[in-house]
Chain length 672, copies 2
């Protein structure tokens, strides 16, 4: 992995910048000669010469058109060469052009060479051009996929040699072979392209093979540079957008808006409606609120087509706006899980994401503005759950554990709701453990085990799930418990937990536990555990091993600040219960955590700025902890690992290394 | 049950008619003095005197206003008494008025008597008035709920005595005690009311107690007459509409559109958005496409409120239209299952519907235009699954069964895709069963066991589910198989089925089955099994025991008609694979099925019309098979059980008996 990153860094990617992240999704900006594109973006396909809809009126900020169709038509070609493509299709903003690959895939042949079409695109002033790659369809023989991949890569190389200033797409191919997709992505990523379409996926989408689409996209994006936008070619149906964005796609093109309109079909975020079957109009757009299905059916074809196209654009752009909103507020997974109910094979695709849990976890920010909403067994595979189950292992086990059921959150404030029936399922009565020897842990779906000290942390406090559990939840929590209790000598469990998660199958004999149970959450324990969970085992000791002073909020009674004497170590952020470091905390953590853990390493040039507390731009970063997530507290150091400053990461470790543009860390304080 | 129905039938309910059904939902029309309301309908709440939005411009066909607020204000009262309420609030269509019960619930007291407010509503010309019931809040002591219920029922009776021509609401109360709700519903249903609100549920909705809302609604609707619309009082959030409709609610009122707008909140079908948190506008309405969040935030309060109210109305009415569409095309459950991902407690409410499976199954039409889409474990509880598992028992078992895995549908046309690895898990090798002794059955989610002969029937052929199963699906199919194979002497099972549904846990030892497996679906077997499944055990024999001639479609090769000589017995409908009777089929079925099975009994007056093949109106029906579903093939008979005609039911048995208006059966043929 590091090898790739180093090669990548020789190539300047200055056009794209990430502003917000959720899942693998990003809200970003892509600069082009004709303006800036806010991503994720939907690019309506403009048919040169045949266009009837002014897509800019309905929300288009960027469009895509076909350079090959222009090239082939004498009149269009001459006009494009003379006045430019922007004049030709009457769109002043960014224009992406396709090369004729689609025609190649349809007809097996095109009347232009790769070199010619790249040069032509540069001449007509397109913003981002495309080389003439070979779109290898899904499910071909491996031999063919390999052979065509070689040609695609040669043509990519050739396109780079031909182009002068033109920004270039280079399409990831490789059919339905994940390793070929990865190989292609990696090879193209090492070359100087600006955007990476993922190609030849239309046949998968047309036949509802979304499961395989996930494999193709994930095996591509995880080998593409994070610093370039990815375009899921031919994906124009809004029901797919959120899933594709959550997998890291940034650009969509829509010929669907007009093709579906031609066929009297309405795009909806939850599927497609045929006008012939409509009794009522389904949405709140100007078409759906001004016409009835009968009126539309009675219209002449062209007027109807244009109206349906307007509906299709309205719905598609509204979905894109909802996706931006979801990324920024951290509710992208919720949106994806809703949209994936549009078709059972989309749900299947969502379930297939389980196989990419590790990768997704690295990109997903651990702290979000929005609560975690459980929507079904698929939610068990979300990055947040995966991450929690890893991080909870960072907390040192005690002798005994008391497993209590869910109550209202935060749990520690609602302990009086717990039914008082307990059993000892492990350990002897004579152990005589004191309250300090005993970990109190809440058992709940989907996070499994929540040590009571962590009950105010995001997302452990900021999540909701049904109180009627599905079997996947029960089984998962049962398995989590099975592992969790191994570390304890004594296990006392609430009858409710025992029953809900069927522990009686594993522990058929049990002792009723009648001694009075005192549950106290110690403040020092709490802050140490939070620190361990947040920064790694031992961090709590490292930060708070001196005689600390804990200051609570007068209003909420919750811990706010931790001091050592007059020196602030860290502050617990009220919104998500995590520690925001102060100078002393950063120093202590820097002393404790071994290099490069939690570090972002800046070069000499950036050192003075960092010391001044200015934010860190990605281009100044020469190394960093690859395991950093976005929105984490990080230490900013120089090459000698001297602590310069500390702050909050905006990108994850891999992204910080890959980007040459935009902010990497929002510095909190310098002067260290 | 019959007792209720007979009492009900003394009361004329001539205002409401059902046009389409799905789940417990209905698209209907409700006639009022000021016009007809298409239900489900959303009624914006109009504040008399304070209204700023012309709700009719945004889709309102009926509104609700508060008669008590008018009554209390001298100026408003005088104007209303003089010009009528329609003039007062400037709305020409149907107006429903509330009585002040809400104020009573807020302040504990109102300055008007029940009698006065009912008389007042009649005087001001409201279309549907309301008595002054006592809204008992959730979770009160039972004693209080019982006491207040008594008063509510007294006031209902009093309102009936006071009113002259006024149509009247009567509100179902009973707090969160399902039996009290049912008692109240039944008592009110026996009186001459036109609409039944379900009251005092706002506190449940405000605190996300949707689980209990389901209990309240289901225990009310199942005791209310089907022939009257139900109004879920105070339910104005579009995320709730589809679930409420699927439970049998027809009317919603929305003060939410303006209250949320006042609070800078946007209603969405999947939740609520706060304007302060918005980066992009979420929908395709005129507000969301013409303004940015910043522009709205920068506006003066009143303009902003009105714009947000317009968005809220647009979104709410679009949801109502989608619900109409979903009911008509038979995709209401799909919509409900999508919307219930808006909040985990809505998902919990959906899961709670499992407890009302039997009731919901009776109302849900067995044949729909739309395919069954599996969206998660909740889909396993859908009426279609429940019904299939009952009906599949109607098929007589053979000696042996061969369990094969899912392939592409229809299964019998894709048998070559089945992997050829089988095991005998029950029975001895020396049984020597022939192919005729062997039932071939497909094992799949969610329908469990699908005898190959039924593979073209709705919804067995018209459904889709993910190929990655959740644990609930696996467990349910495992249990279905456990029961299913009991009836067979020999069980041979595909290795894939064995593994997927973990039969190896129950059958750890198994014989590899190496004999060649011949799978043939016999046409006569097929038609008999379909008939058994559709009409009940033995119906196949009764319909097709003579030497039948099977005519297939030249185009599709599928069975179309079954004749006895020249006489058509029945036709298999291509769209859903069910039998449509011909005269001879109706005669044979009538001879076989004991009275009143599958019958609709009409009175003397209707007999000549029925014989002429005219459709049967509910008011002429004097008895019927209570187990008839909507959209089933039914026999039309007179009191002597003479067969007059046959046709397709439009309502279910309970509805046919309850309604006095509208069609009950669409007659196919008379002259019998
Ligand atoms: Mg959320
Ligand atoms: Mg459907
Ligand atoms: Zn529309
Ligand atoms: Zn809107």
């Amino acid at each position: 992995m590091n090898r790739i990153l180093k090669i990548l860094r020789k190539v300047k990617n200055l056009n794209f910048e990430i502003k917000y992240k959720d899942g693998r999704g990003r809200v970003g900006i892509l600069k082009t000669p004709h303006g800036t594109i806010k991503t994720p973006a939907l690019m309506p396909v403009i048919h040169p010469g045949k266009q009837t809809i002014q897509v800019a009126d309905y929300g288009a900020e960027v469009v895509i058109t076909n350079a090959y169709l222009i090239y082939k038509n004498d009149e269009l070609r001459e006009k494009a060469l003379q006045d430019g493509v922007h004049e030709l299709i009457n769109f002043p903003g960014p224009i992406i052009t396709d090369s004729g690959s689609f025609q190649l895939s349809l007809y097996g042949d095109v009347e232009v060479s790769n070199q010619e079409i790249v040069e032509f695109q540069e001449k007509i002033g397109t913003d981002i051009g495309t080389s003439l790659d070979l779109p290898t369809p899904p499910s071909v023989k491996r031999e063919r996929a390999e052979k065509e991949l070689k040609i695609t890569l040669q043509r990519a190389q050739e396109a780079l040699e031909v182009r002068k200033e033109l920004m270039l797409n280079s399409v990831v191919q490789g059919s339905t072979f994940p390793d070929l997709r990865s190989e292609c992505a990696q090879a193209l990523g090492e070359m100087d392209f600006q955007v990476h379409p993922i190609g030849a996926v239309v046949p998968l989408m047309e036949s509802y093979r979304y499961h395989e689409l996930v494999d193709v996209v994930m095996s591509s994006v995880s080998y593409l540079p994070d610093s370039r936008p990815r375009h899921l070619m031919g994906a124009g149906h809004p029901m797919l957008f959120s899933l594709a964005v959550a997998m890291g796609c940034d650009l969509f093109d829509s010929a669907a808006y007009i093709l579906y309109a031609e066929a009297d079909r309405l795009l909806m975020p939850n599927g497609t409606l045929k006008l012939e079957n409509l009794y009522e109009m389904p949405c709140s757009c100007e078409v759906c609120t001004n016409y009835t299905p009968d009126e539309l059916r009675g219209m002449e074809k062209e007027k109807r087509r244009d109206l349906l196209a307007i509906h299709n654009l309205r719905v598609s752009f509204a979905e894109i706006r909802m996706i931006h909103q979801a990324i920024i507020e951290g509710s992208l997974w919720e949106l994806v899980e809703q949209r994936c109910r549009a078709h059972p094979f989309l749900l299947e695709a969502l379930r297939n994401l389980k196989n990419y849990q590790d990768d997704l976890e690295k990109y997903d920010p651990p702290y979000k503005k929005s609560a975690f909403f459980y929507s079904g067994p698929e939610s068990l595979n979300r990055p947040e759950v995966h991450r929690h189950l890893e991080r909870v292992k960072r907390i040192p086990p005690k002798k005994s554990v008391l497993l209590i059921p869910r109550t209202t959150k935060p749990y520690s404030e609602h302990l009086h709701h717990i039914p008082l029936e307990f059993y000892r399922i492990k350990g002897e009565p004579n152990l005589e453990n004191s309250a300090e020897d005993r970990q109190v842990t809440v058992v709940d779906v989907p996070f499994g085990v929540i040590p009571l000290e962590l009950d105010q942390l995001y997302p452990l406090a900021q999540n909701e799930s049904p109180r009627i559990h599905d079997e996947d939840s029960i089984l998962m929590v049962k398995n989590i418990l099975h592992d969790y209790i191994k570390d304890f000598e004594e296990v006392i469990v609430s009858e409710k937990v025992l029953r809900t998660f069927r522990l009686d199958e594993e522990f058929p004999t049990k002792d009723e536990y009648s001694e009075p149970l005192e549950i106290i959450v110690d403040d020092v324990e709490r802050i140490k555990m939070i620190a361990d969970y947040q920064f790694g085992s031992g961090s709590g000791e490292a930060l708070f091993n001196t005689s600390v002073q804990i200051v609570k909020s007068r209003k909420t009674g919750k811990i706010r600040h931790v001091y050592d004497g007059d020196e602030l170590i860290a502050t617990l952020r009220a919104s998500d219960g995590i520690f925001v470091l102060a100078r002393e905390g950063a120093r202590r953590l820097h002393r404790y955590l071994p290099y490069p853990k939690n570090r972002v390493v800046v070069n000499e040039d950036a050192e003075p700025f960092a010391r001044e507390g200015k934010s860190i731009f990605a281009k100044f970063v020469i190394n960093c902890d690859i395991n950093i997530h976005a929105k984490e507290e990080v230490l900013i150091v120089n090459e000698e690992d001297q602590l310069l400053a500390f702050g909050k990461s905006i990108l994850n470790g891999k992204e910080i290394l890959d980007f040459n543009t935009g902010q990497a860390v929002k510095t909190r304080k310098g002067g260290l």
